[in-house]
Amino acid sequence: MADKSKKNIKQNVKNEKAKPAMASMPAVAEANYEQVKKEHRLYFNIVKRRYLWFAISLLVLIPGIISLIAQGLNLGIDFKGGSLYNIKFDQAVTQQNITEALESVGISGQVQLSDGNTYAIIRTAILSDTQRASMIEALQNKAGAFDLKNLQEDSVGPAIGEELRRGAIYSLSLAAVLILLYISIRFRFIYACSAVIALIHDVVIILGLFSLFQWQVDAPFIAAILTVFGYSINDTVVIYDRIRENERRMKKRDSFEDMVDKSVWQTMGRSIKTSVTVFIALLCIYILGGESTKVFALAMMIGVIAGTYSSIFVASQLIVEIKRWFSGDKRKKAVEA
């Protein structure tokens, strides 16, 4: 495999030499900064404006963090225990009828209708068997008929929620450590730190928005957060990879800032297109998938946007920033060397 690819590269060089038509344009191995700038119609210097990007991030992060501290997340039954009934009625029903049916048997619950009011989600505390039976009877008599095979019920005790939360924190930490190690080995430690900060940034944005809007979170939300973790790092590594590649070609007088700016722009097309395709997939799940995957898709969509933003405007810019801090006093030495 390796031998074959080497051969190919050699062959290419030959091919290029063999084509005099190409000689009019020097076969440069790499596009220079000016070319990259010209390439993109919308070009603007990203690295120079990095404080602006950090500020935009903070503008989204801070209200979210305040909300998280003040009101926390709207935890669903998976976390705090309770019951959830998902019913597909034979005909459209009204919120009022369901609420009245519940009240008639002394049960209080949140009701949420969807899909032309044929689907209802009812959230209650964990009901005893008799309460449950009387609720179903009341619903069928007062709200609308439905087949018992069109009933979904989730009841979760409080102990499970605690484990779920702990499991999520453990797996996030494990993922962060693995990523930190891998990027430190393949790139550099400051790259790894910047990447992990950007990841935390993405997660906090999702948590913050979910807290601000008080969207209910359940087990799939955790899966979404962790996937965003994996997805966003993917995005970041693609840019890092280009920075690593361009850094090797850097000449002494080249500025690191310009090189990073160039790398970010070179990968811009890919970053945006990839995010668009994943976003398309998620939007389809959000619109067409069932109720239970909606929250997952929503969290992921926010995550994909935040992840793309953070890969371009946070992770890569942090490298520049951290590098400046560390070389602040060492800069003279570096220049001498």
């Binding site: 590269i9 799939p220 790092i233 070179q266």
Partner: protein, 413 residues
């Protein structure tokens, strides 16, 4: 060279088309195809938590084995095909999954009530309560010449007196041993048991004896079971979810195909081709492992498709760049792949790390999602470096002087 590449291409397209055609039936077979999770075909997922009884003693491993035996016994009574019962000894839980039960309510009802062991006579009158049974152990008895598999039972002092009376009264008759309302054994009393130590004989193996011993011990189960988690999906609703998510899946894939065709033209077609191969590989892996397909699993698959496209995008963007730098299309394709390889390798591996963390530490539904994601990433990597690469090279091999507009590059400066 040219004819050879055309042949290769045509053969590849025919093979994949045939593979798709032939795969539909086995993969979607409702009985032997890719197994569907409870959320898609309806069923009950129940987590029963053992709690220490009144005496406040901690729950032991033996208690959990007893609990499992009781539950197994009851599940068998429900007549469910392939029930899944698992004991979590660390958390003192029994996890039960029953697919396609007609009446999930009743199933839950039967499973969570506490077991009751009784000794009854032929008429079904209760003679003695199982709580008088102190212990039951399987053993091999050689005292009667040949080796016999037996269950040793020992009774409490109170029970010993009762049992002495019963066995005297029913000498030569059968005493039924019932777990709940079901008779598990019907041994004949051969001699009165007066010292509180008895033997039940007639087992064909030590395992069988042990199984019955556990069931007998369960009569003295000192723990009570409560429902910690119950997830129950009606069969119709499950089918509804399956159709909806397949629908979502189809639209997502079609839109992604369209996107690739618009932005990348010729390589876009190649991407669509390799995505079909990718889907086929992933689905066959699901089939062979087998991976139980759940709602989060389908979401994971759609996401994996999105990420598989990413590999194509990285490569094609690189090829575009190389073309813009003035390389020939053939050189650009080769350079695009070899340079994008490291990028894709590093970026996919980091994503796998995150998915791995999910798989190792997540709850059961999250595990399914993580597994589909890991399989998806691996499959996309493999199809990317083999199929996409080869097909693109064959196409370029057919006509190395293709117009660069076919690659989405407007002009070579």
């Amino acid at each position: 060279m040219r004819a050879k590449n055309i042949t290769k291409l045509v053969v590849a397209v025919i093979v994949v088309a045939a593979a798709v055609f032939l795969s539909i039936a086995p993969l979607t077979d409702p009985n032997n195809g890719i197994p569907l999770g409870l959320d898609l075909k309806g069923g009950v997922h129940l987590v029963l938590q053992a709690e220490p009884g009144k005496d406040g003693k901690a729950v032991t491993r033996d208690d959990m084995d007893k609990a499992r035996a009781i539950i197994e016994q009851r599940v068998n009574g429900l007549g469910v095909s392939e029930p899944y019962i698992q004991v979590d000894y660390n958390r003192n839980r029994v996890i039960v999954e029953l697919a396609g039960v007609d009446d999930p309510e009743k199933a839950v009802e039967t499973l969570k009530t506490t077991a009751k062991l009784t000794f009854r006579n032929d008429q079904g009158e209760i003679l003695m309560d199982g709580s008088e049974l102190k212990d039951a152990k399987a053993a091999v008895d050689t005292s009667r010449g040949s080796a016999e598999y037996v269950v040793h039972i020992s009774l409490t002092t109170e029970g010993a007196k009762k049992f002495a009376d019963i066995t005297t009264d029913y000498l030569g008759k059968n005493i039924g041993i019932y777990l709940d309302e079901e008779m598990i054994q019907n041994p004949k009393v051969n001699e009165p048991i007066t010292n509180g130590e008895g033997q039940i004989t007639g087992y064909s193996s030590l395992e069988e004896a042990a199984r019955y011993a556990v069931m007998l011990r369960s009569g003295a189960l000192p723990v009570s079971m409560s429902v910690a988690e119950k997830r129950q999906v009606g069969a119709l609703l499950g089918e509804d979810s399956l159709n909806r998510s397949l629908n979502a899946c189809m639209y997502a894939i079609l839109l992604i195909f369209l996107f690739m065709l618009i932005f990348y033209r010729l390589p876009g077609i190649v991407a669509v081709f390799s995505l079909i191969c990718f889907s086929l590989i992933v689905l066959w892996v699901f089939y062979l492992i087998p991976v139980v397909l759940t709602l989060p699993g389908i979401a994971g698959f759609v996401l994996a498709v999105g990420m598989a496209v990413d590999l194509n995008i990285i490569v094609y963007e690189r090829i575009k760049e190389e073309i813009k730098l003035g390389k020939s299309i053939r050189a650009a394709v080769d350079a695009g792949f070899s340079r994008a390889f490291i990028t894709v390798f590093d970026s996919n591996l980091t994503t796998i790390f995150a998915a791995l963390a999910l798989f190792l530490l997540g709850s059961s539904t999250i595990k399914g999602f993580a597994l589909t994601l890991i399989i998806g990433i691996l499959a996309s990597f493999i199809t990317g470096i083999t199929i996409t690469r080869s097909v693109l090279r064959w196409i370029v091999g057919i006509n190395p002087r293709l117009s660069t507009t076919l690659f989405g590059v407007k002009e070579v400066r």
